[in-house]
């Protein structure tokens, strides 16, 4: 059928719509365009360049040839709270119930490189994740878990090098060589500056640490994903779908630039870069976002950086359902939201997925809630049919048009950020933060003015009993952790240690690390950190040495 004929028919349709609207006006606050037709998408001749086949450039349809027909995505539940012992129990429960990868949540002092006994840690120990002060805690965290078999994702950024070193050390104790380790460290400092807030050092030394990790892992831990370039938190901070992928890919460009500048070959590390997307409420827009992001990254890697290996051009992604979309009101409704978000992530072709629990707008999830969240993934995988055919929404006029639109919006932002001098400069100027905040404010006002309806929040509300049985981390965790730490620092044996740490060896290792920090980026910090970690130097001790040399990041806030 020719375009002319479609256009003619479309005009007839529009006339009919005009009449229908007269009778029954449309609802308010809808997207402008009500219907998509072949006129909204590129012709068949663009298919191979823009859409192509799964496992092939530009990877719009997915990064593997068979996708979930081979095996499902990794069902990776983010967990961790209180002590290493309590988290270890939760991990083993998840593995026993069909979870296929671990995902560690650390408490805020750990994420910002402070020991549990630091005054600034007061009230925060063990709250949003597990408290890790030293290798001793890490040994307990992975007790009876074979690190040669699981893949472990660690949400750790500014001190990622230290936690990775601890993981390598625990594996070594288990007899698992580093080159067998599989997993991911988040290690994405740029989105910490822009959206998540757990930064320590200024951009320059932070980028150095990151490229040091890239280089170390490419030689010693080759199966490890050295970074998870994260849009998740940018979206949680309030961005739109296009902004989520645009700012994240701009961050990705900055990391690749830094690594190349440090003398690495793009194809030596690009295959280990991974991404992290948010699965938000608007199902079809989310599917389009996943597809557009793969296409943009593939083009960036091929055209901008001249990558040769297909693996270097693949945007492999972990996904988490949108925490900020969960409501404290009528919390069981969150199960439905998470199910829809899961469907979006699966139709979008994610490589792994964490599903949020219904009670997370209220507190950390209980075991029962976590089980429902995991079951949600299993239902989508096994019962819905969504995982049976690859990229099932391709060819939908709407989804293809939206994929094109999101891609274009992303390119526009990337261009703007390039003009500002790249992602680091754009963050230092507050540009990215401002864009995110503007979107967040608009969203909030849309909800308050009911341009956007959230069930149970601004419509369909009801009186409710306060929810019962929420998980609570009590203050004794902090006290217990501090006591353990005092023993460790005093050289007393803790956990299964047969003798206490040698404080002289700790001091020497820290002094050595400090000297290494002072040298330029060709001095890789990883071996020095690994050495310090093995003496049971604490996370705080190690990060303090680095703080002394590198200084602290001063946030740019623009409101």
């Amino acid at each position: 059928m020719s375009n002319e004929k479609i256009k003619a028919e479309l005009e007839k349709y529009e006339a009919a719509v005009a009449k229908a609207i007269e009778k029954t006006p449309e609802r308010k606050h809808l997207p402008e365009q009500r219907l998509y037709t072949p006129l909204d998408v590129k012709g068949v001749e663009a298919y191979t360049d823009e859409i192509g086949f799964p496992g092939q450039y530009p990877f719009t349809r997915g990064v593997q040839p068979t996708m979930y027909r081979g095996r499902f995505w990794t069902m990776r539940m983010y967990a961790g709270f209180s002590t290493a012992k309590a988290s270890n129990e939760r991990y083993r429960y998840l593995i026993a119930n069909g979870g296929t990868g671990l995902s560690c949540a650390f408490d805020l002092p750990t994420q910002i490189g402070y020991d549990s006994d630091d005054p600034i840690s007061e009230g925060e120990v063990g709250k949003v994740g597990v408290a890790i002060d030293s290798l001793a805690d890490m040994e307990v965290l992975f007790d009876q878990i074979d690190l040669g078999k699981v893949s472990t994702s660690m949400t750790i950024n500014a001190p990622a090098s230290v936690l990775l070193a601890m993981y390598i050390a625990v594996a070594e104790e288990q007899g698992v060589p580093a080159d067998q380790l599989r997993g991911t460290i988040q290690n994405d400092i740029l989105k910490e500056y822009a959206a998540r807030g757990t930064y320590i050092f200024p951009p320059k030394p932070s980028m150095r640490i990151i490229t040091n990790i890239f280089e170390y892992c490419s030689k010693n831990v080759p199966k490890w994903n050295t970074i998870s370039i994260s849009g998740y938190h940018i979206r949680e901070a309030g961005s739109t779908a296009s902004q989520e992928i645009a700012f994240t890919i701009a961050d990705g460009i900055a990391y690749v630039d830094a690594a190349i500048k440090a003398g690495m070959d793009v194809d030596d590390f690009a295959g280990r870069l991974s991404f992290f997307w948010n699965a938000h409420n608007n199902v079809l827009e989310e599917v389009a976002k996943f597809r557009a992001s793969r296409r943009v990254w593939a083009k960036v890697m091929k055209e901008r950086f001249g990558a040769k290996k297909p693996k270097s051009m693949m945007l492999r992604v972990h996904t988490q359902t949108a925490g900020s979309m969960l409501t404290a009101q009528q919390p069981n409704n969150n199960i439905i939201r998470v199910a829809l978000q899961t469907a979006a992530a699966v139709m979008g072709g994610t490589q792994s997925l964490h599903t949020n629990s219904r009670d997370e707008a209220l507190a950390l999830p209980t075991q029962e809630s976590v089980t429902i969240a995991l079951r949600t993934q299993q239902i989508v995988a096994n019962e819905s049919g969504l995982a049976d055919v690859i990229d099932p929404l391709a060819g939908s006029y709407y989804v293809e048009a939206m994929t094109d639109r999101i891609e274009k919006e992303a390119w526009d932002y990337i261009k703007k950020i390039d003009e500002l001098g790249g992602a680091v400069a754009a963050i230092e100027k507050g540009y990215i933060q401002k864009e995110i905040q503007d979107s967040a404010y608009k969203w909030q006002m849309d909800v308050e003015n009911k341009r956007r309806i959230i069930v149970g929040v601004n419509e369909y509300t009801m009186e409710e009993e306060p929810p019962k049985g929420l998980l609570k981390v009590d203050a004794s965790v902090g006290i217990e952790q501090c006591k353990k730490l005092a023993d460790l620092k005093a050289g007393k044996p803790i956990n299964k240690m047969t003798k206490g740490r040698d404080n002289e060896a700790v001091k020497a290792a820290l002094a050595e690390l400090k000297e290494a920090c002072k040298k330029d980026e060709s001095e890789n910090l990883m071996p020095h950190i690994l050495k310090a970690v093995k003496t049971y130097a604490t996370l705080g001790e190690i990060c303090n040495v680095m703080r002394e040399v590198f200084g602290l990041y001063e946030a740019h806030v623009s409101l």
Binding site: P202, K429, G430, G551, E554, A555, V557, S558, L559
Partner: protein
């Protein structure tokens, strides 16, 4: 608090905060407070920091304050941000850059919004400076976005004024140059590690050359990278140099005399204006006048002359 001014003079920090609030809100007791404090002012050295948005003024002020602290001086900071003309609200975010500084007992930071009336603001700022001065602070920074006449007025409260610029501002510098050349005793190019710092320095030099007026103080153009603590001691040294210079040649006395005169006249203008307005509005005469003017029965000039005659004799 029984007597705010007494408490300020005793060194009560909360009283200092409350006194500034009274001034900001033009509370009834504000005049009384200022009357009590005035004899105890004139000891602090007042530094004006101005420049375009994004020049890093707050970060620079933070570092300069730390440098003054390390030289044994106590510091007060008044950080001014614009009030939204639509809502009357403001976000005062300068403190973010000074959070660790704020825990130093020898430092007092106060954020102020411009709150509409600009003439009012310069007068309020000047009073807030005096309260800090009477409290016993050695060095007072007045930090404000420098884009217009209002800021120039505010900066008149300062003994030494520094203009902060950054490279890569493009044509912006052209737009503001007229104003800044006059008020800058010192120019600092912040973020001098960015491209274009040398070019900006050359441009500024050329503009100062073109300025033409023979001066015995040629404003130095300094470079700094505030967030890396680079160039900070030089800026503070230059502040000292400028102060010594204007003390030696009598300029400081001239400036302060001029300021005292202007402040008094401004106050007089404001008070007389207020007084006359009150009378006109309270008596209801205003409506009749306006009507007559509108109907061209009389004109505003005649009315004002008449009002002056009857009220101020």
């Amino acid at each position: 608090m029984e007597n705010i001014a007494d408490e300020v003079l005793k060194g009560n920090r909360l009283a200092l905060a409350k006194a500034i609030t009274a001034i900001e809100n033009e509370r009834e007791n504000a005049t009384e407070i200022m009357q009590q404090l005035y004899p105890h002012t004139g000891n602090a050295y007042v530094l004006g920091i101005t420049g375009p948005p994004g020049a890093g003024k707050s970060t620079l002020t933070d570092k300069l304050a730390k440098e003054f602290r390390s030289r044994g001086k106590t510091v007060g900071i008044i950080a001014i941000d614009p009030t939204s003309p639509f809502s009357g609200g403001a976000i005062l975010g300068d403190r973010i850059r000074m959070n660790d500084l704020a825990m130093d007992e020898g430092v007092f930071i106060r954020s102020m919004g411009t709150r509409g009336s600009l003439g009012g603001l310069s007068h309020k700022t000047a009073d807030a400076v005096k309260v800090m001065d009477a409290f016993g602070v050695d060095v007072i920074f007045v930090e404000t976005v420098g884009v217009g006449q209002s800021e120039v007025d505010i900066v008149k409260a300062a003994d030494t004024t520094m203009v902060v610029l950054i490279p890569g501002m493009g044509d912006d510098i052209q737009a503001i140059k007229a104003g800044i050349l006059e008020i800058g005793d010192i120019f600092t190019i912040n973020k001098a590690d960015h491209d274009g710092a040398d070019k900006l320095q050359t441009e500024l030099n050329m503009m100062l050359d073109l300025d033409g007026v023979m001066k015995d103080w040629r404003p130095p153009i300094l470079k700094a990278v505030a967030n890396q603590n680079i160039g900070i001691t030089e800026v503070v040294d230059t502040f000292h140099k400028h102060r010594e210079h204007i003390e030696a040649n009598g300029q400081l006395t001239v400036r302060r005399t001029e300021r005292a005169k202007n402040e008094m006249l401004d106050l007089l203008d404001a008070k007389i204006g207020q007084y006359v307005r009150h009378k006109l509005v309270d008596s209801g005469k205003i409506d009749k006048f306006v009507e007559d003017i509108k109907a061209r029965k009389t004109d505003p000039y005649t009315v004002v002359n008449g009002v002056m005659e009857s009220m101020l004799k």
